[in-house]
């Protein structure tokens, strides 16, 4: 079985699976259970100044799928509601008992130098392997000038990061908020401030659903609600893109990334790692299923690495980054056409109605007595993938690359582009 160990900006971990800063890492009891279950590391739930935060009752809500599987998860919890002293004592004890696991301490303090200067040495004294700066929390804390309120201002990110690099020798990971237009700006700021790594994404501002009788959103506190932070499988595509944006940005290229956002199985983890992550953090999946899920995650990742012939995680890390580019560099001469495997087709007609109503009228419905046969009209198919997506049978509709006989030509080279940089034939 493949070696899953990692060295993430100097932080060693027996596997890349860390629990993100959140309720599962709130206290020693949970973290010890996580380590017993096999997690490679934890990011301890965010410490703050005393007195500790106070939480409301009714804290989570979720977006459910058709079978009540949780697609997205929303929370309005604040940072730790326990004292700094208790947290530091527990962190010290747990790290001492589990020296091979990564222990990262999440922190959130006001944008003033003094608190950072005072508290960082206390954190360092616990024996922790690194700190993560919570610049991402989108609910509650920003109203007090912390969390995402900092993460949305690159100059503040740079400032605080620099303070941290000044007052501790520990690696500094800056956790980024996705509630921003271009995630590259805060990542560049973190790098400018001396950050050893970034982690992303934190949760996304969200309202999952409403009680339409009471006319109030969930979670309901008294008769009211507030927006929370969204996570779980639903946010994975957003997280993957943001990780890739930073991984391929010329400024931040090479900056270690701890990937977070909807990771629930080994495949999700492999995708984050391939797009630039050096470790991955999990929260929602553990909250829904318990810590034991790390067993299948490690086993699946390890077997896949073996099957692919990679030596370790580093061997495929960032391998998909060069293949992630701007739209303008995509090959305009590339063409795929849908193909329906008639032996697998169950005749549900979903490809037909999807294409007929909303796309290119490229799926013909042939009536043969009481039977129906669905066929692609090659000449009309633009290769959009909609039919393949709507088909309930995996592998029934495939998108088949066509041999156009034409060379690579991107939009910048395309004569149809009035702003083409190079006209064909003149190059």
């Amino acid at each position: 079985m493949a070696d899953l160990s990692i060295d993430f900006c100097g932080i060693k971990s027996p596997n890349p699976f860390w629990l993100a800063s959140a309720p599962p890492t709130d206290k020693a009891y949970n973290v010890v259970r996580a380590f017993e279950a096999g997690w490679g590391g934890v990011v301890w739930k965010t410490l703050g100044e005393d007195p500790p935060a106070v939480n409301v009752s009714s804290r989570y809500s979720a977006l459910h799928g058709k079978n009540r599987e949780v697609i997205g998860f929303n929370n309005i919890e604040l940072i730790t509601d326990r004292s700094l002293e208790i947290n530091l004592r527990e962190i010290t004890a747990v790290k001492k008992a589990w020296p091979d696991r990564a222990m990262i301490v999440s922190m959130m303090l006001p944008c003033e130098e003094a608190p950072w200067r005072d508290i960082l040495p206390l954190v360092e004294a616990t024996g922790a392997d690194g700190i993560e700066l919570n610049f991402g929390c989108p609910h509650g804390m920003p109203e007090r000038g912390m969390g995402a309120a900092v993460g949305q201002q690159p100059d503040l990110i740079e400032l605080v990061t620099r303070w941290c690099k000044t007052y501790t020798r520990l690696p500094v990971i800056v956790k980024l908020t996705p509630n921003i237009t271009d995630v590259r700006a805060p990542a560049r700021a973190a790098l400018a401030g001396g950050a050893d790594a970034v982690s992303l994404i934190n949760t996304i501002n969200s309202i999952t659903h409403l009680d339409l009788d009471r006319m109030v959103a969930y979670p309901i506190v008294g008769g009211a609600s507030t927006h929370g932070g969204y996570c779980g499988a639903a946010v994975k595509p957003i997280a993957l893109n943001m990780v890739a944006e930073i991984a391929r940005d010329p400024v931040t290229r090479g900056l270690p990334i701890s990937g977070i956002g909807g990771i629930g199985n080994w495949r999700d983890a492999a995708e984050f790692i391939a797009l630039g992550a050096g470790s991955v953090q999990v929260c929602t999946a553990a909250m829904l299923h318990g810590f034991r899920i790390v067993d299948e995650m490690k086993d699946g990742l390890s077997r896949w690495i073996d099957a692919q012939g990679y030596a370790d995680i580093a061997a495929f890390s960032r391998k998909a980054v060069p293949n992630t580019t701007d739209w303008k560099y995509l090959d305009m001469n590339y063409q795929v056409i849908a193909h329906i495997d008639q032996d697998k087709c169950i005749g549900c007609g979903k490809c037909h109605i999807a294409c007929e109503d909303t796309s290119h009228q490229a799926v013909a419905r042939l009536v043969e007595g009481n039977a129906r046969r669905y066929e692609i009209i090659d000449a009309e198919c633009v290769g959009c993938n909609l039919c393949e997506i709507t088909c309930p049978v995996e592998g029934c509709i495939t998108m088949v690359p066509q041999d156009s006989g034409k060379p690579y030509m991107n939009w910048m080279q395309d004569p149809r582009n009035p702003r083409a940089e190079v006209a064909l034939g003149e190059a």
Binding site: K66, R68, G347, C348, P392
Partner: protein, 457 residues
């Protein structure tokens, strides 16, 4: 009605104990099960299940409504196509209709969505303050419907919706037809059939007259004279005969008569129950009969059919029910002789074995005797010749023993229409009868309107 079985012992046990054996064959889905099952529907376009439904229920739509917790919307989607959606969800052979067509029944999966149970969930759980369908403004026309079974009442309900008044003439003391008198008790238990009829009639504009028997105290010519149209939905009232000596001996009777008595019995413990019984036939009625005898306490029930299992008209699902009740199946045996004891009562039957030879069923000469205290015929029904004998009724053209109609359910008699089992070839399904009634109502309405238009022009 069970005079011929009077010499047999009564069912063992109290009515209460026996009644428990006639509760629902398949339990209803819980709300949670319905949520899970409805999520399995792929919401097909041009869905095969809908094409397979004789009444054309938009299955994908009602299941989506169930999943979205719009139970009333789901129920209306069903009822607008099939006002007997509740009964059909229980008695339809879904395994040869919608669920057979379900795309999830493909080779790789083999697990169709439980459409019948979902339909039942919608109908059973929908709550309507008033009847969910409104009547159109009155047309001033009154239509006579003969027979208050699924075909007749489906027609009556649709006619009422279209603004006509309807008078339904029913021979029995209750409406519902085979739903009330003919379906196995464990399929439509309790008073479900009557509650469904009450719901249907609550649209208004439908009057039901009971004890009105066509050919006896009701004549077609009178109906034809007095009403704007007549819809005949008289079913098949007579049981086929075996054509053997001893056919009228004590101990031999038609399965439908026993089932009818069983369904109407206030005290199941008062029913005569043979210790050993033979059921002759291979359709769903034969299965219903055999299984109900088992549930009443018969020790040995042998279902005898002159052809092989593959030729049985009972569905695989029904045959499984029989097997689960330890009903013996004796195929390739044709009735030869009713065996009587010294008192002239049935003591068994003699059969001759059969086989297929050059595509024809032939007797092999080998004899099989099966001892039994009673023999039940379930070899099919035909139209009661006495019901259509007045001079006008004789004008009705026939196809065999059924009334001939055109594609709009018109008989040879102008203004006369017919539907349901009295016209249907092949499978005599409740759902088919409902569709006949609905389509006949639309045809009657269109014909009346076009006459009206011509008259006005």
């Amino acid at each position: 009605m069970i005079e011929s079985l009077q010499h047999l012992p009564l069912a063992a046990g109290t009515h209460g104990v026996l009644a428990e054996r006639f509760s629902d064959l398949a339990p209803a889905l819980t709300a949670r099960q319905a949520a899970i099952e409805s999520a399995r529907c792929l919401y097909c376009y041009d869905a095969p299940c809908t094409r397979a439904c004789p009444t054309g229920i938009d299955v994908a739509s009602f299941i989506r409504n169930i999943h979205d917790q719009n139970i009333e919307g789901a129920a209306i989607g069903i009822l607008k196509q099939n006002i007997f959606g509740g009964a059909c969800s229980r008695v339809c052979p879904t395994e040869i209709l919608c669920e057979d067509a379900c795309v999830r029944n493909n080779d790789a999966e083999g697990q169709p969505v439980k459409i019948g149970l979902l339909q039942r969930h919608a109908i059973d759980n929908a709550h309507f303050e008033t009847h969910p369908f409104q009547r159109a403004p009155s047309t001033g026309k009154t239509i006579a419907v003969v027979g208050a079974g699924p075909a007749g009442l489906s027609c009556a309900h649709r006619l009422a919706m279209l603004g006509h008044d309807v008078v339904v003439f029913e021979a029995h003391g209750k409406a519902g037809g085979l739903n009330e008198y003919g379906i196995a008790k464990y399929k439509l238990p309790g008073d479900f059939a009557q509650r469904e009829v009450e719901f249907l009639l609550s649209i208004g504009g439908i009057q039901v007259q009971y004890g009105r028997i066509l050919g006896a105290n009701l004549q077609l010519r009178d109906l034809h004279t007095r009403y704007d149209a007549v819809f005949l939905a008289i079913g098949l009232q007579a049981s086929r005969r075996l054509g053997l000596t001893g056919e009228d001996a004590p101990g031999l009777m038609a399965a439908v008569d026993y089932i009818s008595t069983l369904r109407q019995a206030r005290d199941l413990a008062a029913l005569p129950v043979p210790r050993r019984a033979i059921v002759i036939g291979a359709g769903n009625t034969a299965i219903d009969m055999a299984v109900q005898l088992k549930r009443l306490g018969s020790e040995e029930v042998t279902l005898v059919y002159r052809r092989g299992v593959e030729a049985m008209s009972a569905t695989g699902h029904e045959i499984d029910i029989a097997k689960a009740h330890f009903v013996r199946m004796r195929t390739w045996a044709a009735p030869l002789e009713v065996l009587l004891d010294d008192a002239g009562r049935v003591r068994g039957m003699r059969f001759e074995e059969t086989r297929m030879e050059d595509g024809r069923l032939v007797a092999t000469g080998a004899i099989v005797e099966i001892a039994a205290d009673a023999v039940f015929k379930a070899i099919g029904q035909h139209m009661d010749g006495d019901s259509v004998v007045d001079p006008l009724a004789l004008e009705l053209e026939r196809d065999g023993d059924r009334i001939r109609v055109d594609s709009d359910f018109r008989t040879a008699l102008p203004g006369g229409y017919a539907g349901g089992d009295c016209i249907a070839p092949g499978q005599d399904l409740t759902v088919q009868a409902v569709q006949h009634g609905k389509l006949a109502a639309l045809a009657i309405h269109n014909d009346i309107q076009s006459v009206h238009t011509k008259a006005g022009a």
